[in-house]
Amino acid sequence: MADGPDRPAGVTRSSTRLDNYVDRYAARTRGMTASEIRALFAVASRPEVVSLAGGMPNISGLPLDVVGGAIDELVRTNGPTAMQYGSGQGDPVLREQICEVMRLEGIEAHPDDVVVTVGSQQAVDLVTRIFCDPGDVVLCEAPSYVGALGVFRAYECDVVHVEMDGDGLVPSALEQAIASVQASGRRIKFLYTIPNFHNPAGVTLAPERRQEVLRICREADVLIMEDNPYGLLGFDGEPPRAMRADEAERVIYLGSFSKTFAPGFRVGWVLAPHAVREKLVLAQESATLCPPSFSQMAVSSYLRSHDWQGQVKQFREMYRERRDAMVEALDDMMPATARWNVPDGGFYVWLTLPPGLDAKAMLPRAVTARVAYVPGTAFFSDGFGSQSMRLSYCYPSPERIREGVRRLVGVIEEEMELRQTFGALPSGSTPAPPSAERGYESPNSDLS
C-alpha cells in the first residue's frame, strides 16, 4: 500500500468522519442533516431576492421611540429586578395583562393558570415534553406549522395529519383519523391546531366547526393544543372566538406577542388547566429556570404605556394591504391551473401549483430568478405537499410582492415547459414517499 504523494515521513494514514461525537448522539438527531433546501435559503436573505418565504412579522411600523422610552424607564426604575432571575411561571403583572389580551378572544382566565414561555414555540415544546412519550400520536392539520412538527419529531411523536378545507379542519376527517389511530391500538395525546389564519394554509376554522371539533375531541377524550399567534390579526370584524373560551378543561391555549408586538422579545404563553400548569412550571424551570425577566417586563411596560391595540390595528391594515397586493398579483398573473386561497388574516397564502409540478424541485430555479418560497413538503411529516408552497406576504412591500409573484410566474412557466418536455414524473404528480429525514428539512427559524 502506498503512502500517496507528498506524504511527509511519520504522517500516518487516518480515517475520519470529521465529527468526533458521531457515535454518541441520541437517535432522535438522525434527521438533523444538511439539506439543499436549507442551503438555497441562504440566498433568500440577500436583498436582491424577493423572499415570499419568511414569516417574519413586519415591525417597521412600531413606535421605536415609545419602546425605547419604556425600556429606558424600566432600567431606571426597575433595573435590578428586570435583570434578575424571576419566577418560573413568569412575571405576575404580565400574566394579568395576558389575561386581558385573551379576553379579546372570549377567554376568561386567571393569571395563576398562565405560564409565560420563550415565545409560543417553547410552549409547544413544554406541552409536548410533559405529555408525549416516543410513539405517542399527535394529530395535526394537513398541512401544519413547521416549527411544531419539528418539536413533535424531536420528542419522537407519530404525527397523523388531518384534512383541511377552506373552512379549516374537516370534522369528519378528524373523526376518521381518531377512529383509525385508536383502532391501531395507539394513543392520541392531543390535537395540535391553529384555528385562526393558519400557518401555512391561511384558512380559519369556521365557528360551527369549532363546536364540532370540541365535541369530537370531548367524546374521544382527546386534548387540544390551540396555537393562536395570529388571532388578533384578522382583516374583518372581531377576533374569532377562541376554542378555549368554550372549553377550559380540554383545551391548552398558546399565545404570543411575536406578531402583535415584536418577536425579538421572545415572549409567549400557555394557558392550561391547573394540574397541567403545575407540570408546565416545573418543565419550564428545568428548561430555562425562568423566562427572561427583562423581556417580560419590557412587554409589560409596552402594554401599559402604549395604545397597543391601536398598534395592532395598524399592523392589520398593513398586512391587509399586502394580502391584497399578493392576491391581486396572483389573480393577474398565475396560470389558470394554479390554485390558492384568500386569507382573512395572518401572513400566508397556500398555493397549489399546476398539476405535475414539484415546488421543492423547482426551488433552485426560483432562487436563480431571485424569488423564494417555502415548499409545501416542509409542512407535512409524511412526504405530502410536493405540489404546494407557502407564500408569505407579511414582510415585503406591495411593490416587491407584485415583483416576486411576477418572477414566480416566470419560474412556474419555465418549469411547466420543462415538465411537458420530459412528461409526467413520479415526484410532481403524486406525494413523495414518507421520509424519516424530513422533520428537520425546514428552513431557518425566521421562515417558520
Binding site: 500500500m1 502506498a2 503512502d3 500517496g4 504523494p5 507528498d6 506524504r7 511527509p8 504522517v11 494514514r13 487516518s14 480515517s15 475520519t16 468522519r17 470529521l18 465529527d19 461525537y21 458521531v22 442533516t33 444538511a34 439539506s35 439543499e36 436549507r38 442551503a39 438555497l40 441562504a42 440566498v43 440577500r46 436583498p47 436582491e48 431576492v49 424541485a361 423547482m362 426551488l363 433552485p364 430555479r365 432562487v367 436563480t368 431571485r370 418549469e415 415547459e417 420543462l418 415538465r419 418536455t421 420530459f422 412528461g423 414524473l425 413520479p426 415526484s427
Partner: protein, 313 residues
C-alpha cells in the same frame, strides 16, 4: 504587504451557504497565521470598498456562478487588486465541466464518456427520443449533473432509464445545460493541487466513502455522514497516478495557486477525471483542509503563502 487580506464569501449562487462557511474558516486560519483579515460579501458596495480599503490581496472563496466562472476575478483584474487563484479565462474553462473535460481529455487524461445537452435540445427533438439514444449510447448507470455548478447540487445517479427524466429535470433546475456521463463505479477521491511558486504539486489523496453511497449535498456538509481516509488507501502506483492526473489537469487548464480535482479510481485501478474546482470548498467538512493537514501543513500558513505569492505577481 500593506493593507488587509480581503476574503470574499457569500455571493448569490446556489452555493452561498457553503461559501460563507469556507470564508469563515479561511479567515480564522489566516488570522491565526498572523494576517489582518476582513470578510466581505459581494454586493453593490464592493467596488467602492476595494477602492477605499485597498486590500493587499483578495482571497475569492465564492463558490458556483460568478465566483468560479471568472466573473469576480475579471473585476479584480479590472481594478488591479491582486488575488489568489486562477485567472478569469482559465476559470471560465475549468468551471464549465464539459469544456474542462474536453481540455483535460486532450491532455491524455481519461474522463467518463458523456454528452452535454441544453434543455432546448430535448424540447426541439423530443425528450423521449433523446433520452433513449443517451441510454443506448452510454449504457446504465448514468450520472447527470448541471454543466456548471458544484456541491453536487442537481446531480443524480441514474440506475434505470425510468429514472432519467427526473434526473434531467433536477439538473435543469440548476442551469440550462446538463452533462450526462457514464457512471464509473469505484472509489471517489479528491486531490488538491497547490503551487506556492515552485510548481504545482499534489497534496495527499483523500478517499471519500459516504454512508448512503452517494456523495451528495447532505453527505458533503453533514459532519459524520461520510468517512474520509487520508492519504487514501490505494496502491502506490494508483496514488501516484491520482496525483499525476490532478497536476496534469491543473496544468492543462492553466490554473494557478490552488485547485482540487475530483477523480474516480475504478475497480481495475484506473483513474478517471470528473471535474476540477478553482475555488474548492474549505469548510469544516471539506476535503482540502484534510489533505493539507495530512501533508503536515497548516491551512492558514498555506493560504498566507499563496497570498504572498499573489501580491508579488
Amino acid at each position: 504587504m500593506t493593507g488587509p487580506v480581503l476574503v470574499l464569501a457569500g455571493g448569490l449562487s446556489h452555493e452561498r451557504d457553503v461559501s460563507l462557511r469556507s470564508g469563515r474558516r479561511v479567515a480564522e486560519a489566516l488570522r491565526d497565521a498572523g494576517l489582518e483579515v476582513e470578510v466581505r460579501d459581494v454586493d453593490a458596495t464592493l467596488l467602492d470598498r476595494l477602492a477605499s480599503d485597498r486590500p493587499a490581496c483578495v482571497v475569492p472563496l465564492l463558490h458556483g456562478e460568478s465566483g468560479e466562472d471568472g466573473a469576480i476575478r475579471s473585476v479584480l483584474e479590472l481594478v488591479g487588486v491582486p488575488y489568489v487563484g486562477a485567472r478569469p479565462d482559465a476559470c471560465r474553462v475549468a468551471f464549465d465541466k464539459p469544456v474542462a473535460k474536453t481540455v483535460v481529455g486532450r491532455a491524455g487524461i481519461r474522463t467518463p464518456a458523456g454528452f452535454t445537452l441544453p434543455a432546448e435540445t430535448f424540447r426541439e427533438l423530443g425528450a423521449t427520443a433523446v433520452m433513449e439514444r443517451l441510454v443506448d449510447s452510454l449504457g446504465l448507470p448514468l450520472f447527470v449533473k448541471p454543466a456548471r455548478g458544484g456541491s453536487a447540487l442537481g446531480a443524480a445517479l441514474v440506475r434505470t432509464a425510468a429514472d432519467l427524466p427526473s434526473a434531467m429535470v433536477g439538473a435543469f433546475a440548476y442551469g440550462d445545460t446538463a452533462l450526462v456521463e457514464q457512471f464509473v463505479a469505484g472509489t471517489e477521491v479528491a486531490v488538491p493541487v497547490v503551487d506556492d511558486g515552485s510548481g504545482p504539486r499534489a497534496l495527499p489523496v483523500v478517499s471519500i466513502t459516504p454512508d448512503g453511497g452517494v456523495y451528495d449535498y447532505t453527505a458533503r456538509y453533514t459532519a459524520g455522514s461520510t468517512e474520509f481516509q487520508v492519504p487514501a488507501k490505494l496502491d502506490d502506483a494508483v496514488a501516484e497516478e491520482c496525483a499525476r492526473v490532478a497536476v496534469a489537469a491543473h496544468t492543462a487548464l492553466g490554473l494557478r495557486d490552488l485547485s482540487r480535482s475530483d477523480l474516480i479510481v475504478d475497480d481495475d485501478g484506473q483513474v478517471w477525471f470528473l471535474e476540477v474546482n478553482v475555488a474548492p470548498g474549505l469548510t469544516e467538512t471539506s476535503t482540502v483542509p484534510l489533505s493539507v493537514q495530512a501533508a503536515g501543513l497548516d491551512l492558514g500558513e498555506l493560504v498566507a503563502e499563496l497570498v504572498g505569492g499573489a501580491t508579488a505577481r
